[in-house]
């Protein structure tokens, strides 16, 4: 049985390495990024499709980085482009921590819930059903390095996200993985994941996905 999994996320799904300076546009190689790790573990019957966009928010048009960073707005295109989708792995929320959006963690969790509900209401799964969902709580951030100013106040908010997102997963009856309990962000920029963190996360995602079917 072949399985199609869409990995819907931000720069930590895309595979942005910790940034030494602003405008550092490197990217982890495909086999280093967590979708690549998970795909290799799950084997050739599984197709993991990467849909990670740097700067993607849950549902905010970013006035600085672009209106196209709005995850909820991109969701219909992604669901329809890759259907039939067996499961969607959702890891968002970190970019909502940017001070310019000024949203409390409760709002971030509520925004993630709206995305979960939109997926559940879609016919993008097999036979016109909704895809399964694996919701991941992102690792908490540290305010350090080139991104610290933009994320002022974000660290404290981010520490509260795992518990709030666990409640969302519970209420929406979807699978949940707390990345914050498994991995830590890099001390270089306080936001992004190094290769070791991607490897750990990829293994955990693969293990969780394999229990969904």
């Amino acid at each position: 049985m072949t399985r199609t999994i869409v990995c819907f996320g931000d720069s930590n799904t895309y595979g942005m390495p910790p940034m030494e300076f602003a405008g550092d546009w490197r990217r982890h190689a495909p086999d280093v990024r967590w979708p690549g790790i998970a795909g290799r573990m799950l084997g050739p019957a599984w197709t993991l499709i990467e849909e990670g966009l740097p700067g993607r928010t849950t549902l905010h048009d970013d006035p600085i980085e672009g209106a196209h960073k709005n995850g909820l707005k991109d969701l219909p295109s992604i669901l329809e482009s890759h259907r039939p989708i067996d499961a969607l792995v959702l890891m968002l929320g970190t970019n909502d921590l940017k001070m310019r959006f000024s949203v409390p963690p409760e709002d971030i969790a509520a925004s993630v819930a709206l995305i979960v509900q939109a997926i559940k209401a879609s016919p993008a799964g097999p036979d016109g059903q909704a895809p399964k969902i694996l919701l991941i709580a992102p690792a908490r951030i540290i305010e350090t390095g080139v991104l610290a100013g933009m994320l002022t106040g974000g660290a404290e908010k981010s520490a509260r996200l795992p518990a709030l997102l666990a409640k969302v997963a519970n209420a929406e009856e979807v699978a949940f993985l707390d990345a914050d309990a498994l991995i830590a962000v890099s001390h270089v920029d306080g936001v992004h994941l190094d290769a070791a963190a991607h490897a750990t996360l990829g293994r955990a995602v693969a293990e969780t996905l394999s229990t969904l079917f």
Binding site: E50, G52, H68, K73, D74, P76, S77, E80, S81, H82
Partner: protein, 215 residues
């Protein structure tokens, strides 16, 4: 490693021609033209599929959804799949819907606009723009249940290749006319059957090889 993005509509997604409304489905990955392209190019190439049913060149569809606007979404697709060596853009068919009143010259400009977005982007190797290949869709065939939606579209569709070719030349990007190797299916007049996907994938593989070799 060379990375190629296939940006298109239902004929990139792989919609099975549907003689009656609701008969549709999706061809398997190895049947769809991006899959054929992937198999022909072989190791050392990553072929990424971004085909969305109903996608237009540059129009927010009031009926099927504003997110069908190809120009609005292209940046998301480019940035998500950075770094891209080549972007294949195959759109224009949905612009033929009567509700848009788009003329062939307009659709040509729509494709030109998409080429511009890619050429002004930093999502090619090392932050340079990617190469672009504009593919003109094959003309419409015998319409059935979609005839009303595409009223007047058949005649226009025969002029698309010429208009898109002009825009490709003006922007300095590559061009291929799908109508030179395939026909749309008479099952619905719009979509491609498995044989057409195979032929298009073969033809594009040759074209893509020559584009990437001249890098």
């Amino acid at each position: 490693m060379k990375t190629i993005l296939c940006y298109g509509d239902s004929n990139t997604w792989g919609a099975v021609p549907q003689p009656h409304r609701g008969d549709g489905g999706r061809f398997a990955p190895d049947v769809r033209w991006p899959g054929v392209l992937r198999a022909r190019l072989g190791a050392g190439h990553t072929v990424i599929e971004e085909g969305l049913n109903g996608r237009t060149t540059c129009i927010a569809d009031p009926v099927e959804g504003t997110y069908k606007n190809g120009a609005a979404y292209l940046t998301v697709a480019l940035e998500t799949h950075y770094p891209l060596d080549l972007v294949i853009i195959k759109l224009g068919t949905n612009d033929l819907k009567a509700r848009f009143a788009m003329q062939p010259i307009d659709i040509g400009f729509g494709m030109g606009q998409l080429a511009d977005i890619a050429l002004k982007s930093t999502f090619g190797p090392n932050g340079t723009p990617p190469q672009v290949l504009l593919v003109a869709p094959a003309p419409l065939a015998k319409l059935s249940w979609l005839a009303e939606m595409f009223e007047g579209g058949t005649q226009k569709s025969h002029r698309l290749a010429a208009e898109i070719a002009v825009n490709a030349r003006e922007k300095g990007v590559h061009f291929f006319d799908a109508g030179s190797v395939i026909r749309s299916s008479d099952d619905d007049g719009i979509h491609l059957d498995a044989a057409a996907h195979a032929a298009l994938g073969e033809a594009l593989a040759m074209r893509v090889r020559s584009i990437l070799q001249s890098d």
